[in-house]
Symmetry: C2
Subunit: 137 residues, 2 copies
């Protein structure tokens, strides 16, 4: 299940995409529009900045801004960054120790197939597709 972290991150990205051109958008505004605690968003947005998805500027007149155009983001990278891992199953997590049953496991092929399905779904979904902006595809 996708947690609030990933979902909120996505909503922040969309909000910023829909308010492009207004130079830097203070988090306060985003939080109010989205009805999410600003303090909680700070934690999430920090990760988006350090992950290179957003740019932040301090001080008066500061705030956050996308550092690419909306069509150059995909949902997958946003979720992977904030959720840590999108693995469907513990066995497929990147920092899981190798399962000794892997070679004989009846279920592993299905999980792998499922993982691929999810990956493809989110990585083919562009940010521009899910927000109401006029700067087209």
């Amino acid at each position: 299940m996708i947690s609030t972290k990933g979902r909120y991150a996505l909503r922040v990205m969309i909000d910023l995409a829909e308010h492009e051109g207004e130079t830097y958008v203070p988090l306060k505004d985003v939080a109010e529009r989205q009805g999410i605690s600003k303090k909680y968003l700070e934690i999430i947005v920090k990760e988006l900045v350090s992950g290179g998805l957003l740019a932040g500027v301090r001080g008066k007149g500061g705030g956050y801004r996308l550092c690419r155009r909306p069509e150059e983001y995909n949902v997958g990278e946003i979720l992977e960054l904030t959720e840590g891992s999108m693995a469907a199953v513990a066995c497929l997590d990147h920092n899981a120790d190798a399962c000794p049953r892997a070679s004989i496991c009846r279920t592993l092929p299905m999980w792998t197939e499922y993982d691929q399905l999810i990956h493809d779904f989110f990585h083919s979904k562009k940010l521009s597709e899910i927000c109401h902006t006029n700067s087209a595809v």
Copy 2:
């Protein structure tokens, strides 16, 4: 992420499918073959029985058995029963209170689409497809 409960449930079902005909299979045997604590499996298997996916018989010579043929089960029903909910997102959980933002939410359509994708994937996957048994299909 699919928890151990769902994954173990699936492995029990597969194990039983692969040992069909041996009348009732004691959980002890399944646990040993799968390398999972028998006590923990008891909890999981109880749900499979009360959900009508397995039949259990007590006493000496007892154990568990599938109550349909492997090709008549799909993975989706097994996971739904044991995982409780397969909803990808809290907003789509069956016992979540309606989100006030639902009508204006930019992300909801995507989550709904994702939910459908997952549902279809698991519900079209038959138990017989993922186990090594000779009783065909």
